[in-house]
């Protein structure tokens, strides 16, 4: 009796399918599982190993905006993944720097990046540097100078610099209505009461609501009491 070879065509198909199943269960699925459970590159590692922006610019074949969007999505995941764990976000500056190098006109990347850098990362100089870069690259947009003014005003209490940036914001289209009121208050805070008075008078003149007009009148009255010389003493 002639022995039948083990590898018959019908068997080969069954063996191949079985082996494929073994490879899937034994190798492919565990590797996928390892990636899912964090054994692969985490968000921080992906941020650390991010190529320099200049290299990304070339690699993206000129589709710089798409590359900037992809890194922005990674940045958001990085912020979301770290905001409740470690509060210093060490890779945030690098990530946002990459985004704005790829697309210097991505204004929201400057403002949101600086906001998280400042309030979650505690990196105020980094936030200021980022916003100044945003203001230089987008001289017609009010958001970066406005956020610089807010940072100097609220966080650093540097009123002359806050005033400088609010004045720049005031000249730009689309700026919020409250900017002139901040400028007037900052002039008063920095001791230039005459200028503050002029600003409040201008605000009263251009006010479109009673609410704004009332504020202006209240502030004018307050300043006039401070500016005008004290009334002469009456003698009996």
């Amino acid at each position: 009796m002639i022995p039948r070879p083990f590898l018959q065509p019908a068997r080969i198909s069954t063996i191949a399918l079985l082996l494929a199943g073994v490879v899937l269960v034994g190798v492919v699925a565990p590797l996928h599982w390892a990636t899912l459970s964090g054994a692969g590159l985490g968000l921080t590692e992906r941020a650390v190993f991010l190529p320099p922006p200049e290299a990304l610019r070339v690699a993206s074949l000129g589709f710089n905006n798409v590359a900037a969007d992809a890194i922005w999505l990674l940045t958001i995941q990085y912020i979301g993944g770290h905001i409740f764990t470690e509060r210093n976000l060490p890779e945030l500056f690098r990530l946002v720097d990459t985004v704005v190098t790829l697309d210097p006109h991505f204004v929201e990347a400057y403002t949101l990046g600086a906001l998280f850098m400042n309030y979650s990362g505690g990196n105020v100089p980094g936030a200021i540097a980022l916003l100044e870069r945003g203001a230089r690259a987008n001289p017609t947009r009010w958001e970066p100078p406005h956020d610089l003014a807010r940072t100097y005003f609220l966080d650093l209490k540097d009123y002359p610099k806050a005033l400088h940036w609010f004045e720049i914001t005031d000249r730009l289209p689309g700026r919020p209505d409250y900017v002139p009121r901040f400028i007037a208050r900052l002039y008063a805070k920095t001791g230039e009461r005459e200028t503050a008075l002029e600003w409040w008078q201008a605000i009263r003149g251009s006010a479109t609501s009673d609410w704004a007009r009332n504020i202006a009148e209240r502030e004018i009255a307050k300043l006039e009491r401070q500016v005008s010389p004290p009334p002469p003493k009456r003698t009996r």
């Binding site: 905006n65 969007d69 995941q77």
Partner: protein, 254 residues
């Protein structure tokens, strides 16, 4: 008349090609998926839909231009149908122009479908119409017309594989020509700088046609810049077609 007959025939042939539908399906899938990706961003949904949509339309349009463009003349030679065509009272340049216009018509339809989908998605995401999005797609289309002319030029004297490689190389260099020039100015020695400057003068500068970033970031566009870009594009296409006609006219089909 002869040119339009060949153009319509080329268009009909192209729309029957399965590769066109495969590429278009992938492009529409990616443009549609941009809406899902956009939902991961904070308040930047519209931006991501527009960026990814315009890039997909441009990239897949380029694939269509290359993969259909490289076979325009070669297929006719391989099937030996070229002998029947050139034996008829028709000039070779008419044949070549008809082929080019036919493929450009195909691209117009496919890029138009993609651009309308991007504009529709952007409208649905932002809640308002983004003016200039279709203008950006139109300039992208002009860049695709250049890539098609490059593919046609190579297909007049080379094999499809080599034509695809050459056209892809021209596309990549064209997209990066601005960066290449910058690199040469900053780092290269005199010899390399001369070489890169020479390449910059000859090869198409496709980065000129990318106004998507300005549209997405709501930046003002200078009308004279658009006019110059359109003139540049048309002049470059004319130059490429004249070169292709010059080579094809001399070609011996024995």
């Amino acid at each position: 008349m002869k040119i339009s007959a060949i153009a319509l025939n080329t268009f009909r042939e192209a729309v029957r090609d399965r590769i066109l539908y495969s590429i278009l399906a992938f492009a529409l899938l990616l443009i549609g998926a941009s809406a899902i990706v956009a939902s991961l961003s904070i308040g930047q949904e519209g931006r991501i839909v527009k960026d990814l949509g315009l890039a997909s339309s441009n990239l897949f349009g380029t694939f269509i231009a290359i993969f259909l463009g490289i076979g325009l003349v070669f297929k006719e030679i391989e099937r030996r149908t070229i002998y029947a065509i050139i034996a008829k009272p028709i000039h070779r340049f008419q044949f070549l122009l008809g082929k080019y216009i036919g493929l450009v018509l195909t691209l117009l339809v496919t890029v138009g479908v993609m651009a309308l989908l991007v504009a529709g998605l952007a409208w649905a995401t932002d809640g308002h119409w983004t003016s200039g999005l279709l203008g950006a797609a139109a300039l992208d289309f002009l860049a695709l017309m250049i890539v098609t002319a490059v593919a046609l030029l190579f297909s007049t004297f080379s094999t499809p594989t080599l034509s695809a490689i050459f056209t892809l190389a021209v596309f990549v260099i064209g997209r990066l020509s601005g960066d290449l020039k910058l690199f040469a100015d900053q780092f290269a020695g005199p010899g390399l700088r001369l070489l890169i400057d020479g390449m910059y003068m000859i090869l198409p500068d496709l980065s000129r046609f990318q106004i998507g970033a300005q549209i997405v970031n709501a930046m003002p566009l200078a009308p004279h810049q658009i006019v110059w870009t359109v003139m540049y594009g048309l002049a470059y296409i004319l130059m490429l077609l004249l070169l292709a006609i010059g080579i094809f006219q001399r070609r011996d089909f024995k």
